[in-house]
Symmetry: C2
Subunit: 249 residues, 2 copies
């Protein structure tokens, strides 16, 4: 029987999950776990998925991508989203299902990814964006933040923007987009790269917030990058503002 390789685009509210990746025996519920449970039930066989990226606890996704291989599949491809969603909790939603070539791998085939970090920049908190944005009551200079962000664009060693003690072959990544845009009280920080180091988006955001507060000059971001020293960069911002927006293949 022909093995099918199926790619799913998945959106989720990560608030109540312990990140994407399955952690056997920990008792914590992950996105991967609920996806595999629903898919296995539908396929009446054990399905294991591979994700494009391992989002952390509390991090969201509008365009996470997973793939899995299966010999038989009980529903037509275009019916998969509705069929799987009926078996998923409402905070994890399959948006799209596509048949892909055998060699497609959600993580290794990805050429770049976009993450967006959202900041609510107003004096008072807002109960409706609490799960999806970082609340920063002090005024942020988004122009300065956007200027600073441009120093991050390009192929650089991002060691300053990596959580300390993370083993990785190389800390060089190519960032093709870094922008800060304001829409009313909301700030959207958008980053696209061929890959991200652990906590890289959250540390870049923490650093740009320091710029927005006037504590770091935009030009200093260049020096922080060149220092290859995590202690020079800003703090790691909390996960709830972060969203995996899109994966490119």
């Amino acid at each position: 029987m022909k093995v099918m390789n199926i790619k799913l685009t998945v959106a989720y509210d990560g608030t109540d999950y312990h990140g994407f990746q399955e952690q056997r025996g920990t008792g914590f519920v992950t996105i991967q776990e609920v996806l595999e449970k629903a898919l296995s039930k539908l396929a009446k066989q054990r399905i294991q998925v591979t994700g494009a990226g391992r989002t952390d606890s509390g991090v969201h996704a509008k365009g996470q991508v997973v793939n899995f291989k299966s010999e038989s599949w009980p529903v037509p491809l275009d019916k998969i989203p509705l069929a799987v969603n009926a078996l998923l909790p409402g905070d994890v939603v399959v948006l799209k299902a596509e048949k892909v070539p055998d060699e497609f791998h959600a993580r290794f085939s990805a050429v770049k990814k976009t993450y967006v970090y959202t900041i609510l920049n107003q004096r008072l908190p807002d109960p409706f964006t609490k799960r999806y944005a970082l609340h920063e009551p002090r005024p942020l200079d988004d122009d300065a933040m956007n200027r600073a962000a441009q120093y991050l664009v390009g192929e650089h060693d991002f060691k300053s923007f990596q959580a300390q003690g993370t083993p990785v072959k190389t800390t060089v990544r190519k960032l093709t987009e870094a922008s800060v845009k304001r829409d009313g009280c909301k700030l959207y920080l958008r980053f696209t790269a061929n890959g991200f180091l652990y906590n890289m988006v959250r540390i870049m955001t923490g650093t740009l917030i320091q710029v927005g507060l006037g504590k770091i000059k935009p030009d200093d971001v260049k020096l922080i990058l060149e220092s290859r020293d995590r202690t020079k960069a800003g703090p790691t911002v909390p996960p709830q503002g972060l969203c995996m927006e899109k994966v490119y293949y």
Copy 2:
């Protein structure tokens, strides 16, 4: 000592609460309870609040109004929101504090209120609006819904749009606004009245959805209204799409 009457404007995500009103001894947490707890802690005395409306379990508010009287108050009026918010869980937020005349009563002084019901009208569910909108995957004709809504405007006996078995002096209310507006995949149903019967907004919305699906003609809403018969109207939609938008004094 002079007694102060203080009015607060409050926003909340009602998802995790058992409605606004305190229910002693039930073990369920209500908005009123967490508000009174935070205010009492701040004032170092037992504070009891009166709300403009008793929102149900899961119903939200962007502009709920409460008032309370207190002999002494430890912080200046304009500092109350920040001080109280620091003691509140993040899903309940005090937006504004004002000193009001002694005779001001959050419920009895209100002349009208606006409620908005939000519908997500797209084939697939969305994890990010799950808590704040009703998902209706079938296409809704918002023009027909808006035409139907106009029959509800005016002073009428809304008995058909009241939950059965609710004791109330009169079922006559004056609706000054009923509109259905589409913004992309979202439909906003907006109702303003001098008062609402129990479940009235949710039954009017359920009826207008039937119109949007083509199951009831817009003109039939007039007949449903005149019938004074709850069984003629549509179903009561779930609470998560409902939000108390504003209270007018």
